[in-house]
């Protein structure tokens, strides 16, 4: 049984009487400890799927099951599934120190020993512990994204939803953050569901990838198919062509 099972998921936004179907009948399943990618251009509905899992987008049809049971967004869910957002400049509270940001999930769930856990979390993501009482505006983009990753891991979840975790960062920092994520996944046996518009990133991180366009699933590819450029659809091929040169240099 797969850890994350999504069947015929549809998400419909209603704004001023107009309905926008952001995701239509998408199905996918992610095995435990697998890293699964969602790729597509902007507006293809890939981020919306992650937000739908978290209850941040209105699901209009289909089912989402985690560990075989339909999702309920309670405290147990938050100890199981956490998310890293795209923009590290918007995902940290500007008036809270890193200490506050990282100890908040512990306080919510009544987990003790906050001091030691916060210090350990900073070490785990490669930040100096002297940063503990800094504010987000005193950090660079890459450092902020490390804090966001540390925050997502405070509750020791098994599933990490990654919404373009590196697209707001410049190239050298991107590689550092991706390597950090790969290391944490190996160390903790995490399951990733990762969104990106960049096939090079997906190729680096994911075992399988679902190509999406206009809210629909186009094609699912295993990593070998991706590396060997064995796509069945034209759209996947054109997406591959757009980032092929960077994939070759990175591998």
């Amino acid at each position: 049984m797969a850890l994350i099972e999504i069947e015929n998921l549809s998400v419909t936004f209603t704004a001023q009487g107009r309905q926008v179907r952001a995701v239509e009948n998408v199905s996918l399943s992610v095995e435990a400890r697998e890293s699964y990618g969602l790729v597509g251009e902007s507006g293809s509905g890939k981020s919306t799927i992650l937000r739908a899992i978290c209850g941040l987008a209105p699901v209009s049809g289909g089912t989402i099951r985690i560990g075989g049971a339909p999702v309920q967004r309670d405290k147990a869910f938050s100890r199981r599934v956490q998310m890293v957002f795209q923009d590290p400049y918007a995902s940290l509270h500007p008036r809270h120190t890193l200490d506050r940001t990282l100890s908040e999930p512990l306080a919510i769930h009544g987990i003790g020993d906050a001091d030691a856990r916060v210090v350990q979390a900073l070490r785990d993501v490669g930040l100096p512990t002297s940063f503990r009482f800094r504010y987000p505006h005193q950090l660079s983009g890459g450092q902020r994204q490390r804090v966001a990753i540390a925050r997502a891991l405070m509750l020791e979840p098994e599933i990490l939803l990654l919404d373009e975790p590196t697209s707001a960062l410049d190239a050298s920092v991107q590689a550092e953050v991706l390597n950090l994520l790969a290391r944490l996944r190996a160390e903790r046996g995490l399951t990733f569901l990762m969104v990106s518009h960049d096939l090079a990133v997906i190729d680096h991180m994911c075992d399988r990838v679902l190509v999406m366009q206009h809210g629909r699933a186009v094609e699912e590819l295993a990593r070998d198919d991706l590396a060997g450029a064995r796509m069945k659809t034209d759209y996947a091929r054109s997406l591959f062509a757009a980032s092929a040169d960077r994939m070759l240099t990175s591998s």
Partner: protein
Amino acid sequence: MAIIAWLRDPNPASRRQARLGQAYLGWLRLRRNPLAMAGLVIIGLLLVLAAFAPWLAPHDPIAQNLQNRLMPPGTPGHLLGTDDFGRDILTRILYGARITLSVIALVAVTAPLLGLIIGTVSGYFGGWVDGVLMRITDIFLAFPRLILALALVAVLGPGIENAVLAIALTAWPPYARVARAETLTVRNSDYIAAVRLQGAGSVRVIWGHIMPMCLPSVIIRVTLDMAGVILIAAGLGFLGLGAQPPLSEWGLMISAGRKYLFEQWWVATMPGLAIFIVSLGFNLLGDGLRDVLDPRSAGK
């Protein structure tokens, strides 16, 4: 000097040190702003004067002396002159500072807090909660504040405590509006989504994450409204519904002096000057406080 180094340590070792360090940096920011410091000095001085009024005042604030009524400023023994019952105006201003400051303090704490809670709850939940709370706010805003306060005092009975309550109950709607507007801009941000995803309840999100973002604009409003609060308290006193004679409250003193404004100008002018200076102090301090409360302005 060691303590300053400890406070300025960029890598504090404990939560307490970090908090005290932040407070120290805030103080440095405030000190760099000369106008805010002027405001702070005015408010501080006033607090001291109010606290030590019985020792500083040259006379008894309610002792009448009809032979000495309406003496001009500079009369020996009466630096700011006397009023229509021959009471020393300086003495009455000093004692009046106690009443005026306690009215301001009570209103400045209760009204913004009420407004913040209503505004953030309304903005955060949206939907029918927002509809109901904002219509109530509209109703309160639709009445002139003084009239509404009058109606409340008329129901509750005259007196300084009821005046404070009435002013607080009529002063919150603007704060609710400001807080709601700020809440709407932050409630869909990723950091709110992140903390909700961690399982935080609505109370924690509103209190710990949304209110800190609303605080600066509300504080600005509070300091700008302070002069108005003093005047409403004075207005209630004037209509016999606030502080009761012979209590020396500044607004009451102005209304008493109104009758003699052209011949004995000092009776109304002296407490008026006191109100002016306090309002000025609050306005100056409020502007500086906004900078202190924003940690992002630390580097500038």
